[in-house]
């Protein structure tokens, strides 16, 4: 039974009044709205309830959780520019394509609330009706505290902490946009997305959340180099994040794929014998009640040496290298393979700005309101070393341009009828200079993604 209650300025209630009030409170489950009340004592109070001991053996460990998502995708590229065998700009039609661009199965749990484990199995591009796609291990790691939350170690295979999107790229269903920022697109990565070892931690001085991460791993190293990744960010008032990341190959790095095997998995192009590069830049995010603003800028100076045998494979006119690319590789001036320019220094740059605004509408009638998020994005990417042919490890966006640069503007809309389903549609236009002429082309993307979960909080 609760004690008698009274406002601070009142004289004590009589025992009888208290008992009546107390009985009412017991029956009615004891509320009062206007102000916080304080407990008081009675001349002859009822005995307070004995403290209840909660020393059960029930485990309140974080349960294992299995979850993931399916992302169906449709892409229609308008008539896009290309380069003919003669080096002239042409435009080509493109058929619309269906795909399951992401199918992910993830799981995580924690032992003793300290030792967390996580895995991420993915089958990207698994939508082909005529070919089965493999299931890949995108992540498999264990995490343990060394000094509480201040210092933890994660080991295995994991996305490195670098900028805003690298870690969350698989979370398509949860972010605005049908696609990731161009800098993380498969055909123009600026560094490896994954690594093997991460020391990281978090402190909260004065209400600011400071996070850091130091990463290393096999990455693209040639032999015993120790690649180094760093990330540091600060979150203010749970809304504004500003951060910086750095990466160095710390010596020679080598291609992750051979010529003809498609896009590289890191920053070293397949026709390089070796490459030494680093990446630096910054990022920011403002997450308001109804809007999200994100931006990242990265710059990556490279100093490498081309492999002459692989460069000769690019000499094939059918690849459609443009005049600037032929000149860069020395195809127009070299009279023999020995005269090809092999040592190369170049800089990759990437930038994007993304804005989304959330609106809610009660379309479900008595259900939760649907969320509508119109969004816009501007991308810039520049890589003067690349070519257009993706099979050979090139990039059919920057690689089309004379100077390796392209810009992209995008507007779109995301509709979420529930927390687990997202429909997105966006249109974008690329701009690049081909043979001294600004040539745009457009794309339409439509996606439907569904998030599912079992275990954990799915109760």
């Amino acid at each position: 039974m609760p004690d008698c209650l009274r406002p601070p300025l009142c004289r004590p209630l009589s025992p009888g009044q208290c008992l009546v009030s107390g009985a009412l409170l017991t029956v009615l489950a004891a509320p009062a709205y206007a102000q916080e009340v304080v407990s008081t004592a009675l001349p002859t109070p009822p005995a307070p309830p004995a403290p209840q001991a909660y020393t059960t053996s029930t485990s309140f460990e974080q349960p294992f959780k299995l979850y993931g998502y399916i992302n169906s995708f449709y892409e229609k590229v308008g008539r896009s520019p290309a380069v003919s065998e003669e080096g002239d700009p042409v435009v080509e039609p493109n058929p619309g394509e269906f795909d399951v661009v992401n199918f992910n199965v993830m799981g995580q749990g924690a032992l003793a609330r300290k030792y967390r484990y996580y895995f991420n199995l993915a089958s990207p591009g698994s939508g082909s009706p005529t070919a089965d796609a493999p299931l890949l291990v995108r992540g498999a790691m264990v995490e343990a505290p060394i000094a509480g939350e201040y210092l933890k170690v994660s080991a295995g295979k994991m996305y490195r902490r670098f900028g805003i999107y690298n870690e969350m790229l698989d979370a398509t269903v949860s972010f605005i946009g049908t696609t990731d920022p161009e800098m993380l697109d498969d055909d123009h990565l600026i560094l490896t997305r994954s690594t093997n070892l991460m020391l990281h931690g978090k402190v909260n001085p004065g209400g600011v959340a400071l996070r850091y991460a130091i990463t290393t791993g096999n990455d693209e190293r040639e032999s015993n180099q120790v690649p180094l990744g760093l990330d540091f960010n600060a979150l203010f008032d749970n809304q504004f994040t500003v951060g910086t990341s750095f990466y160095s190959t710390n010596g020679k790095a080598v291609p992750t794929v051979e010529m003809g095997e498609g896009s590289p998995l890191g920053g070293v192009l397949p026709w390089m014998e070796y490459d030494e590069y680093y990446v630096y830049g910054g990022y920011m995010q403002v997450k308001g009640d109804a809007y999200l603003l994100q931006g990242e800028y990265w710059r990556s100076p490279h100093s490498g040496r081309r492999d002459p045998d692989k460069v000769l494979q690019l000499f094939d006119p059918a690849l459609g290298l443009n005049a600037a690319q032929r000149e860069r590789f020395g195809f127009d001036t070299a009279t023999s393979a020995d005269e090809l320019p092999l040592d190369v220094n170049y800089t990759v740059e990437a930038f994007y700005l993304r804005l989304g605004v959330s609106l809610h509408a009660d379309l479900a009638k008595n259900g939760r309101p649907w969320e509508f998020t119109p969004y816009a994005q501007f991308d810039y990417y520049s890589n003067p070393e690349t070519i257009a042919n993706k099979d050979l490890g090139g990039d059919n966006e920057a690689g089309l341009a004379d100077d390796g640069k392209f810009y992209k503007g995008m507007v779109g809309l995301m509709v979420k009828p529930t927390t687990t389903v997202a429909f997105k549609v966006d249109g974008s236009t690329h701009f690049q200079t081909i043979s001294d002429e600004m040539v745009p082309y457009s794309e339409l993307h439509v996606s439907a993604s569904y998030y599912w979960q079992m275990g954990g909080n799915a109760r």
């Binding site: 309830p49 029930t58 998502y69 698989d170 687990t420």
Partner: protein
């Protein structure tokens, strides 16, 4: 989804509040009336009362923290940081172990709104993104009040929330603090 013990309290709470308000208001009016007849000589002071069990306002939110957690650390911004996954340790380095209530329950909806400024959908999406990135796990969901009390009392660094109507007496191993108001 487990039953939410606080879900049926509102109407009963209103009635009880009215009763208390009437009684207290009458007494208060007497006390502050400047024209009232002087009161007779006060009666002898009663014996000092033993410590009373705390009382809780049924429709107010309270934070429950494990006794090892310094209650003065519970500022509004810190609560928000904890439940968004932005703060994961208390000041002494003890790991924060947040628990949440069943999504969609009255107590959860009210906490998300008043403490975090989120609705259920927004909060779910926030953690969905974090879990898909593999960075952390959302706070574990607890059901009935007894489970909440047991979990907080038995887990160092734990924090959860309840409606006042779910509480009676002083639970052992748990510090009860009203949800802080104001910006900080």
């Amino acid at each position: 989804m487990s039953a939410d013990p606080s879900s049926s309290l509102s109407r009963r709470g209103l009635l009880a509040a009215a009763v208390i308000g009437l009684a207290a208001g009458a007494r208060g009016a007497q006390a502050e009336d400047p024209g009232a007849t002087p009161a007779p000589a006060p009666a002898p002071a009663p014996e000092p009362a033993p410590p009373a069990a705390p009382a809780y306002v049924a429709d107010n939110l309270y934070l429950l923290v494990h006794t090892g957690v310094p209650a003065d650390a519970l500022t509004r911004s810190r609560i928000k940081a904890i439940y968004l996954g932005n703060q994961t340790s208390w000041e002494r380095g003890l790991s924060v172990v947040p628990f949440q209530r069943a999504p969609g329950s009255i107590v959860a909806d009210r906490f998300l709104d008043k403490a975090l400024g989120y609705d259920t959908m927004g909060y779910a999406q926030h953690w969905q993104g974090i879990e898909l990135a593999g960075v952390a796990m959302a706070p574990r969901v607890l059901g009935a009040t007894a489970e909440v009390l047991s979990a907080v009392a038995s887990t160092p660094g734990a924090i959860c929330y309840v409606m006042g109507g779910e509480l009676s007496g002083a639970p052992a191993g748990v510090t009860v603090v009203p949800l802080p108001t104001g910006k900080n």
